[in-house]
């Protein structure tokens, strides 16, 4: 690009300073605000699905409770724990980057990634269970339409199978969308790990770590709400 004017050059700046910013502080602020604005869009995106959940739970309380009780509470709780630990390691990764400790920083990022992949693995196990139980709604999977054994579900009084199908539709939509965001997060973490190993981040420039951390914590928060709403709502109806 032709530089023909005496503009503010990046002579004084960090190699990572982009030409349209005046200084690193402005660049960092812009990046952080940008990620927060993006998270707002994510909140509204998931919000639509939470609305559908709230309405249908209100319309079909017995069916939703029955279907929810059929979910594996142990796997769900373990997954919740896994994500909480991963949020902790992510926060630590940001801390170590801020103070310039590269080894612990990389270690924490790697741990976060492993925990994220663990979450996805457990999710895959759960999804497979649903597949074998014929609980995948509609004819989404050819040859495995929705058709569970009614008695295996322990339907509470008032619950019908189509209503149960509605629950599973919402379950797959919400956890599926959440899992997709986890996969994207895993990709972003991989990028962070590679760049950290190459030494691209230092106490002066590490906003990608912070920003991706924000994204990761957000995905954790979505699960913090999904777990009780999907897995725990009907447990108090279980009697023995």
């Amino acid at each position: 690009m032709i530089e023909s004017h005496a503009t503010t050059q990046d002579i004084h700046g960090h190699p990572a300073l982009q030409h349209h910013f005046e200084n690193m502080e402005q660049q960092r602020e812009a990046g952080t605000i940008g990620m927060w604005v993006f998270l707002v869009t994510e909140i509204m995106f998931f919000g639509g699905m939470f609305l559908a959940y709230a309405l249908y739970r209100n319309f079909f309380p017995a069916a939703f409770a029955s279907a929810s009780n059929h979910l594996d509470i142990t796997l769900g709780a373990v997954n919740t724990g896994v994500l909480i630990v991963s949020s902790f390691t992510m926060a630590l990764a940001v801390y170590f980057t801020q103070v310039g400790n590269r080894r612990p920083q990389i270690l924490c990022l790697v741990l976060t990634l492993i925990l994220g992949l663990t979450f996805l693995g457990i999710k895959a196990v759960e999804y497979h269970e649903k597949y074998t139980d014929r609980l995948i709604p509609g004819h989404l999977i050819p040859g495995a339409s929705f058709g569970p054994e009614a008695h295996a579900l322990h339907l509470l009084p008032g619950a019908t199978l189509p209503q149960v199908e509605m629950f599973y539709w919402i379950y797959f939509a919400m956890t599926g969308m959440h899992a997709l965001h986890m996969i994207i997060g895993a990709g972003l973490l991989t990028f962070l790990i590679v760049y950290s190993i190459k030494g691209r981040f230092d106490p002066e420039y590490h906003s990608p770590v912070e920003i991706i951390g924000l994204y990761w914590h957000f995905v954790d928060i979505v699960w913090i709400f999904l777990f009780p709403l999907l897995y725990l709502l009907g447990r108090h109806f279980e009697h023995g």
């Binding site: 952080t32 927060w36 902790f88 913090i224």
Partner: protein, 99 residues
Amino acid sequence: MSEHIVPVKIYFAIFLALLAGTALTVIAAFVDFPWRLNTIVALTIASIKATLVVLYFMHVRYSPRLVWVIVASALFWMGILFAFTFSDYFTRNWFSSGY
């Protein structure tokens, strides 16, 4: 906006609180509270957990006011979506006389 470095022990405390909240919500799920209290208890615990993550892990506690405004706006807007849609569904049968 100078950067604030949160000490590790605060992160650890929040982490323990989150695990405790998870255990609490699982236990509370099996207790049969009256009316709709089960839902309220579950959502309250989840909201507290989320608030801890937002304030400490996501550094909002130490962030400039603009970030607070952004977070509050998002919650407010989701609230609009819920409140006004509920205003339809939950008033449909008010004073129903065949309408």
